[in-house]
Protein backbone atom coordinates (compact mmCIF):
# COMPACT_ATOMS: atom_id res chain seq x y z
CA UNK A 1 0.00 0.00 0.00
CA UNK A 2 1.79 3.08 -1.19
CA UNK A 3 1.67 5.92 1.26
CA UNK A 4 2.02 9.48 0.10
CA UNK A 5 3.86 11.86 2.39
CA UNK A 6 0.67 13.59 3.44
CA UNK A 7 -0.91 10.35 4.60
CA UNK A 8 1.30 10.27 7.62
CA UNK A 9 -0.05 13.62 8.75
CA UNK A 10 -3.29 13.91 10.61
CA UNK A 11 -5.88 16.08 9.01
CA UNK A 12 -8.13 18.15 11.19
CA UNK A 13 -11.27 19.92 10.08
CA UNK A 14 -11.83 23.02 12.23
CA UNK A 15 -15.25 24.66 12.30
CA UNK A 16 -15.84 28.14 13.74
CA UNK A 17 -17.88 31.11 12.61
CA UNK A 18 -15.35 33.56 14.10
CA UNK A 19 -12.55 34.53 11.74
CA UNK A 20 -10.20 35.27 14.62
CA UNK A 21 -10.83 31.91 16.22
CA UNK A 22 -10.37 30.14 12.91
CA UNK A 23 -7.02 31.81 12.48
CA UNK A 24 -6.05 30.87 16.00
CA UNK A 25 -7.09 27.25 15.83
CA UNK A 26 -5.41 26.89 12.46
CA UNK A 27 -2.14 28.19 13.86
CA UNK A 28 -2.44 26.00 16.95
CA UNK A 29 -3.08 22.93 14.84
CA UNK A 30 -0.31 23.68 12.34
CA UNK A 31 2.13 24.28 15.19
CA UNK A 32 1.20 20.81 16.39
CA UNK A 33 2.04 19.48 12.91
CA UNK A 34 -1.48 18.73 11.79
CA UNK A 35 -2.85 19.38 8.37
CA UNK A 36 -5.75 21.81 8.73
CA UNK A 37 -8.86 22.76 6.85
CA UNK A 38 -11.06 25.50 8.33
CA UNK A 39 -14.68 26.20 7.50
CA UNK A 40 -17.03 28.76 8.95
CA UNK A 41 -20.19 26.72 9.42
CA UNK A 42 -21.56 23.31 10.26
CA UNK A 43 -23.17 22.93 6.86
CA UNK A 44 -19.86 23.66 5.11
CA UNK A 45 -18.24 21.11 7.36
CA UNK A 46 -20.75 18.45 6.34
CA UNK A 47 -20.23 19.40 2.72
CA UNK A 48 -16.50 18.99 3.11
CA UNK A 49 -17.00 15.64 4.77
CA UNK A 50 -19.06 14.56 1.79
CA UNK A 51 -22.35 14.32 3.61
CA UNK A 52 -25.47 15.96 2.32
CA UNK A 53 -27.68 17.23 5.10
CA UNK A 54 -30.59 15.43 3.47
CA UNK A 55 -28.80 12.10 3.35
CA UNK A 56 -30.74 9.18 4.58
CA UNK A 57 -28.89 7.81 7.57
CA UNK A 58 -29.30 4.22 6.47
CA UNK A 59 -27.26 4.84 3.33
CA UNK A 60 -24.39 2.47 2.74
CA UNK A 61 -20.90 3.91 3.12
CA UNK A 62 -20.35 6.63 0.61
CA UNK A 63 -19.01 5.39 -2.69
CA UNK A 64 -16.70 7.98 -4.23
CA UNK A 65 -18.42 9.51 -7.20
CA UNK A 66 -17.25 11.72 -10.00
CA UNK A 67 -19.73 14.42 -9.11
CA UNK A 68 -17.87 17.69 -8.45
CA UNK A 69 -19.55 18.07 -5.07
CA UNK A 70 -18.10 14.82 -3.87
CA UNK A 71 -14.47 15.27 -4.72
CA UNK A 72 -13.80 16.11 -1.08
CA UNK A 73 -14.71 12.57 -0.12
CA UNK A 74 -11.19 11.46 -1.03
CA UNK A 75 -9.74 13.72 1.62
CA UNK A 76 -9.40 11.93 4.91
CA UNK A 77 -10.39 13.77 8.04
CA UNK A 78 -9.01 12.38 11.25
CA UNK A 79 -10.73 14.73 13.64
CA UNK A 80 -13.34 17.45 13.63
CA UNK A 81 -12.96 20.30 16.11
CA UNK A 82 -15.91 22.63 16.24
CA UNK A 83 -17.15 25.68 18.09
CA UNK A 84 -20.38 25.13 19.98
CA UNK A 85 -22.10 28.48 19.46
CA UNK A 86 -22.61 29.04 15.77
CA UNK A 87 -25.53 30.56 13.91
CA UNK A 88 -27.68 28.03 12.05
CA UNK A 89 -26.16 24.65 12.82
CA UNK A 90 -24.56 24.61 16.25
CA UNK A 91 -21.53 22.50 17.07
CA UNK A 92 -23.85 20.16 18.88
CA UNK A 93 -26.05 19.77 15.80
CA UNK A 94 -22.95 19.05 13.72
CA UNK A 95 -21.79 16.49 16.26
CA UNK A 96 -25.14 14.74 16.08
CA UNK A 97 -25.13 14.62 12.30
CA UNK A 98 -21.66 13.17 12.25
CA UNK A 99 -22.45 10.53 14.85
CA UNK A 100 -25.69 9.59 13.11
CA UNK A 101 -23.94 9.10 9.80
CA UNK A 102 -22.80 5.60 9.02
CA UNK A 103 -19.88 6.90 7.01
CA UNK A 104 -18.72 9.58 9.41
CA UNK A 105 -19.51 8.40 12.91
CA UNK A 106 -16.04 7.09 13.59
CA UNK A 107 -14.49 10.48 13.12
CA UNK A 108 -13.67 11.86 16.56
CA UNK A 109 -15.31 15.19 17.32
CA UNK A 110 -14.12 17.79 19.80
CA UNK A 111 -16.28 20.69 20.92
CA UNK A 112 -14.97 24.13 21.90
CA UNK A 113 -16.92 26.71 23.82
CA UNK A 114 -16.27 30.01 25.52
CA UNK A 115 -18.94 29.22 28.09
CA UNK A 116 -18.51 26.82 30.92
CA UNK A 117 -21.98 25.27 31.12
CA UNK A 118 -21.94 21.82 32.74
CA UNK A 119 -25.21 20.70 31.15
CA UNK A 120 -23.89 21.70 27.74
CA UNK A 121 -20.71 19.78 28.35
CA UNK A 122 -22.49 16.60 29.45
CA UNK A 123 -24.87 16.78 26.54
CA UNK A 124 -21.96 16.93 24.11
CA UNK A 125 -20.06 14.13 25.76
CA UNK A 126 -23.21 12.02 25.85
CA UNK A 127 -23.69 12.59 22.15
CA UNK A 128 -20.23 11.21 21.50
CA UNK A 129 -17.83 14.13 21.63
CA UNK A 130 -14.38 13.00 22.65
CA UNK A 131 -13.39 16.17 24.41
CA UNK A 132 -14.78 19.51 25.38
CA UNK A 133 -12.34 22.41 25.36
CA UNK A 134 -12.96 25.75 27.00
CA UNK A 135 -11.94 28.69 24.87
CA UNK A 136 -9.48 30.15 24.35
CA UNK A 137 -7.93 26.85 23.33
CA UNK A 138 -4.24 26.45 24.09
CA UNK A 139 -1.40 24.43 22.64
CA UNK A 140 -1.41 22.18 25.69
CA UNK A 141 -5.04 21.26 24.99
CA UNK A 142 -4.09 19.96 21.57
CA UNK A 143 -1.81 17.34 23.11
CA UNK A 144 -4.99 15.47 23.95
CA UNK A 145 -6.05 15.12 20.33
CA UNK A 146 -3.52 12.66 19.00
CA UNK A 147 -4.79 9.51 20.75
CA UNK A 148 -8.25 10.09 19.28
CA UNK A 149 -6.87 10.57 15.81
CA UNK A 150 -4.69 7.52 15.89
CA UNK A 151 -7.74 5.32 16.10
CA UNK A 152 -9.07 6.61 12.80
CA UNK A 153 -5.70 6.22 11.10
CA UNK A 154 -5.82 2.49 11.56
CA UNK A 155 -9.49 2.32 10.56
CA UNK A 156 -8.69 3.89 7.20
CA UNK A 157 -6.67 0.86 6.29
CA UNK A 158 -9.39 -1.56 7.11
CA UNK A 159 -12.20 -2.68 4.90
CA UNK A 160 -14.95 -0.12 5.09
CA UNK A 161 -17.63 -2.77 5.41
CA UNK A 162 -15.94 -4.34 8.39
CA UNK A 163 -16.08 -0.95 10.06
CA UNK A 164 -19.82 -0.91 9.67
CA UNK A 165 -20.30 -4.16 11.50
CA UNK A 166 -18.07 -3.86 14.46
CA UNK A 167 -17.93 -1.05 16.92
CA UNK A 168 -14.73 -2.40 18.43
CA UNK A 169 -11.54 -1.22 16.90
CA UNK A 170 -8.23 -2.71 17.70
CA UNK A 171 -5.07 -0.82 17.19
CA UNK A 172 -1.64 -0.46 18.55
CA UNK A 173 -0.22 2.78 19.78
CA UNK A 174 3.51 3.28 19.99
CA UNK A 175 4.66 5.03 23.14
CA UNK A 176 3.78 8.69 22.95
CA UNK A 177 6.57 10.91 21.73
CA UNK A 178 6.83 14.68 21.61
CA UNK A 179 5.05 16.56 18.87
CA UNK A 180 6.50 14.53 16.01
CA UNK A 181 4.87 12.76 13.11
CA UNK A 182 4.06 9.18 13.92
CA UNK A 183 4.37 6.83 11.00
CA UNK A 184 1.42 4.46 10.94
CA UNK A 185 2.14 1.14 9.19
CA UNK A 186 -0.50 -0.19 6.84
CA UNK A 187 -0.99 -3.44 8.77
CA UNK A 188 -2.30 -3.33 12.28
CA UNK A 189 0.35 -5.90 13.25
CA UNK A 190 3.15 -4.64 15.39
CA UNK A 191 5.14 -5.30 18.51
CA UNK A 192 3.07 -3.28 20.90
CA UNK A 193 -0.55 -4.20 20.78
CA UNK A 194 -3.03 -2.42 22.89
CA UNK A 195 -6.65 -3.32 23.25
CA UNK A 196 -8.67 -0.18 23.27
CA UNK A 197 -12.26 0.19 24.31
CA UNK A 198 -14.69 1.32 21.66
CA UNK A 199 -15.05 5.02 21.28
CA UNK A 200 -17.35 5.74 24.13
CA UNK A 201 -18.11 9.01 25.76
CA UNK A 202 -18.26 7.39 29.15
CA UNK A 203 -14.82 5.83 29.05
CA UNK A 204 -12.07 7.30 31.09
CA UNK A 205 -9.79 9.03 28.65
CA UNK A 206 -6.10 9.62 28.94
CA UNK A 207 -4.59 10.92 32.11
CA UNK A 208 -5.93 14.14 33.32
CA UNK A 209 -3.44 16.41 34.84
CA UNK A 210 -3.94 20.06 35.31
CA UNK A 211 -0.95 21.66 33.71
CA UNK A 212 0.87 23.97 36.07
CA UNK A 213 0.00 27.14 34.21
CA UNK A 214 -3.71 26.70 34.38
CA UNK A 215 -6.34 26.20 36.94
CA UNK A 216 -9.41 25.78 34.79
CA UNK A 217 -10.68 22.22 34.66
CA UNK A 218 -10.83 20.28 31.43
CA UNK A 219 -13.72 18.04 30.56
CA UNK A 220 -13.69 14.74 28.79
CA UNK A 221 -15.67 12.57 31.13
CA UNK A 222 -18.97 13.22 32.79
CA UNK A 223 -17.72 11.72 36.02
CA UNK A 224 -15.15 14.44 36.42
CA UNK A 225 -17.64 17.26 36.32
CA UNK A 226 -17.88 19.12 39.58
Amino acid sequence: MGMAATESQFHVLAVDDSLIDRKLIERLLKTSSYQVTTVDSGSKALEFLGLNEDDDQTNPPHIPSVSPNNHHQEVQVNLVITDYCMPGMTGYDLLKKIKESSSLRNIPVVIMSSENVPSRISRCLEEGAEEFFLKPVRLSDLNRLKPHMMKTKVNDHQNFEKLEESEETQFQSPPPKEQQQLQQPPQPQQQEQQQQQPSNNKRKAMEEGLSPDRTRPRYNDIATLV
Binding site: S18, I20, L24, T31, S114, K135, P136, R138, L139
Partner: protein, 151 residues
Protein backbone atom coordinates in the same frame (compact mmCIF):
# COMPACT_ATOMS: atom_id res chain seq x y z
CA UNK B 1 23.36 51.32 27.35
CA UNK B 2 23.29 50.86 23.59
CA UNK B 3 20.19 51.54 21.53
CA UNK B 4 19.15 47.91 21.17
CA UNK B 5 19.37 47.20 24.90
CA UNK B 6 17.49 50.39 25.65
CA UNK B 7 14.72 49.56 23.22
CA UNK B 8 14.52 46.05 24.52
CA UNK B 9 14.21 47.33 28.08
CA UNK B 10 11.52 49.77 26.98
CA UNK B 11 9.57 47.02 25.23
CA UNK B 12 9.73 44.65 28.17
CA UNK B 13 8.72 47.34 30.63
CA UNK B 14 5.86 48.47 28.45
CA UNK B 15 4.57 44.96 27.89
CA UNK B 16 4.77 44.19 31.60
CA UNK B 17 2.78 47.31 32.39
CA UNK B 18 -0.01 46.19 30.07
CA UNK B 19 -0.27 42.92 31.94
CA UNK B 20 -0.09 44.61 35.33
CA UNK B 21 -2.80 47.06 34.43
CA UNK B 22 -5.03 44.27 33.20
CA UNK B 23 -5.18 45.35 29.58
CA UNK B 24 -3.76 42.01 28.54
CA UNK B 25 -3.93 38.58 30.07
CA UNK B 26 -2.07 35.33 29.55
CA UNK B 27 -3.85 34.60 26.28
CA UNK B 28 -1.72 37.33 24.70
CA UNK B 29 1.35 35.35 25.77
CA UNK B 30 -0.15 32.30 24.10
CA UNK B 31 -0.42 34.27 20.87
CA UNK B 32 3.20 35.33 21.08
CA UNK B 33 4.24 31.73 21.56
CA UNK B 34 2.54 30.85 18.29
CA UNK B 35 4.67 33.37 16.41
CA UNK B 36 7.92 32.16 14.91
CA UNK B 37 10.19 32.62 11.90
CA UNK B 38 7.69 30.93 9.64
CA UNK B 39 4.87 33.13 10.96
CA UNK B 40 6.63 36.33 12.05
CA UNK B 41 3.53 38.53 11.85
CA UNK B 42 1.05 36.24 13.47
CA UNK B 43 0.29 38.43 16.48
CA UNK B 44 -0.11 41.59 14.43
CA UNK B 45 -2.37 39.74 12.00
CA UNK B 46 -4.66 38.38 14.68
CA UNK B 47 -4.78 41.67 16.54
CA UNK B 48 -5.61 43.51 13.30
CA UNK B 49 -8.51 41.14 12.77
CA UNK B 50 -9.61 41.92 16.30
CA UNK B 51 -9.51 45.66 15.59
CA UNK B 52 -11.60 45.27 12.44
CA UNK B 53 -14.06 42.95 14.07
CA UNK B 54 -14.46 45.12 17.17
CA UNK B 55 -15.07 48.28 15.22
CA UNK B 56 -17.73 46.55 13.19
CA UNK B 57 -19.41 45.16 16.28
CA UNK B 58 -19.32 48.47 18.15
CA UNK B 59 -20.97 50.17 15.19
CA UNK B 60 -23.60 47.46 14.98
CA UNK B 61 -24.27 47.79 18.67
CA UNK B 62 -24.79 51.54 18.38
CA UNK B 63 -27.24 50.96 15.53
CA UNK B 64 -29.27 48.34 17.32
CA UNK B 65 -29.45 50.41 20.51
CA UNK B 66 -30.74 53.41 18.56
CA UNK B 67 -33.86 51.58 17.48
CA UNK B 68 -37.29 52.26 18.92
CA UNK B 69 -37.78 48.64 19.79
CA UNK B 70 -34.42 47.31 20.81
CA UNK B 71 -33.74 43.74 19.81
CA UNK B 72 -31.89 42.62 22.92
CA UNK B 73 -31.14 39.24 21.39
CA UNK B 74 -29.19 40.99 18.68
CA UNK B 75 -27.40 43.17 21.21
CA UNK B 76 -26.48 40.09 23.19
CA UNK B 77 -25.28 38.27 20.09
CA UNK B 78 -22.93 41.13 19.18
CA UNK B 79 -21.58 41.44 22.71
CA UNK B 80 -21.10 37.67 22.85
CA UNK B 81 -19.03 37.86 19.68
CA UNK B 82 -16.95 40.69 21.05
CA UNK B 83 -16.46 38.84 24.29
CA UNK B 84 -15.20 35.86 22.33
CA UNK B 85 -12.76 37.75 20.17
CA UNK B 86 -11.37 39.85 23.03
CA UNK B 87 -10.89 36.68 25.03
CA UNK B 88 -9.10 35.06 22.10
CA UNK B 89 -6.47 37.77 21.94
CA UNK B 90 -6.20 38.38 25.67
CA UNK B 91 -7.86 41.81 25.78
CA UNK B 92 -8.97 41.27 29.34
CA UNK B 93 -10.58 44.60 30.18
CA UNK B 94 -12.68 44.58 27.04
CA UNK B 95 -13.75 41.02 27.78
CA UNK B 96 -14.79 41.94 31.30
CA UNK B 97 -16.98 44.82 30.18
CA UNK B 98 -18.64 42.44 27.73
CA UNK B 99 -19.57 40.13 30.58
CA UNK B 100 -21.36 42.83 32.57
CA UNK B 101 -22.88 44.23 29.38
CA UNK B 102 -24.54 40.89 28.74
CA UNK B 103 -26.25 41.03 32.12
CA UNK B 104 -27.92 44.25 31.06
CA UNK B 105 -29.09 42.57 27.87
CA UNK B 106 -30.65 39.82 29.90
CA UNK B 107 -32.43 42.35 32.07
CA UNK B 108 -33.42 44.38 28.99
CA UNK B 109 -31.93 47.36 30.74
CA UNK B 110 -31.57 50.06 28.07
CA UNK B 111 -29.74 52.56 30.26
CA UNK B 112 -27.31 49.91 31.35
CA UNK B 113 -26.68 48.81 27.79
CA UNK B 114 -25.97 52.33 26.65
CA UNK B 115 -23.66 52.91 29.56
CA UNK B 116 -21.73 49.71 28.87
CA UNK B 117 -21.51 50.46 25.20
CA UNK B 118 -19.74 53.68 26.15
CA UNK B 119 -17.45 51.81 28.46
CA UNK B 120 -16.77 49.24 25.79
CA UNK B 121 -15.80 51.90 23.27
CA UNK B 122 -13.51 53.41 25.88
CA UNK B 123 -11.80 50.18 26.82
CA UNK B 124 -11.46 49.19 23.20
CA UNK B 125 -9.78 52.44 22.21
CA UNK B 126 -7.44 52.14 25.19
CA UNK B 127 -6.31 48.63 24.33
CA UNK B 128 -6.03 49.55 20.66
CA UNK B 129 -3.69 52.40 21.53
CA UNK B 130 -1.68 50.24 23.85
CA UNK B 131 -1.26 47.46 21.32
CA UNK B 132 -0.36 49.85 18.52
CA UNK B 133 2.30 51.35 20.77
CA UNK B 134 3.56 47.89 21.60
CA UNK B 135 3.87 46.98 17.94
CA UNK B 136 5.68 50.25 17.21
CA UNK B 137 8.21 49.51 19.91
CA UNK B 138 8.73 46.05 18.46
CA UNK B 139 9.31 47.54 15.03
CA UNK B 140 11.80 50.03 16.41
CA UNK B 141 13.67 47.27 18.16
CA UNK B 142 13.78 45.12 15.03
CA UNK B 143 14.88 48.09 12.93
CA UNK B 144 17.74 48.73 15.34
CA UNK B 145 18.89 45.18 14.80
CA UNK B 146 17.49 43.71 17.97
CA UNK B 147 15.28 40.72 18.51
CA UNK B 148 12.03 40.60 20.38
CA UNK B 149 12.65 39.05 23.80
CA UNK B 150 10.68 36.04 24.98
CA UNK B 151 8.68 37.29 27.91
Amino acid sequence: MDAVTQLQRQLVDYTNSLFLEGFLDDQFNQLQQLQDESNPDFVVEVVSLFFQDSERLLNELAKVLEQQNIDFKKVDAHVHQLKGSSSSIGAQRVQRVCITFRNCCEEKNIEGCLKYLQQLRHEYSLVKNKLETLFKLEQQLLAAGGTIPLY
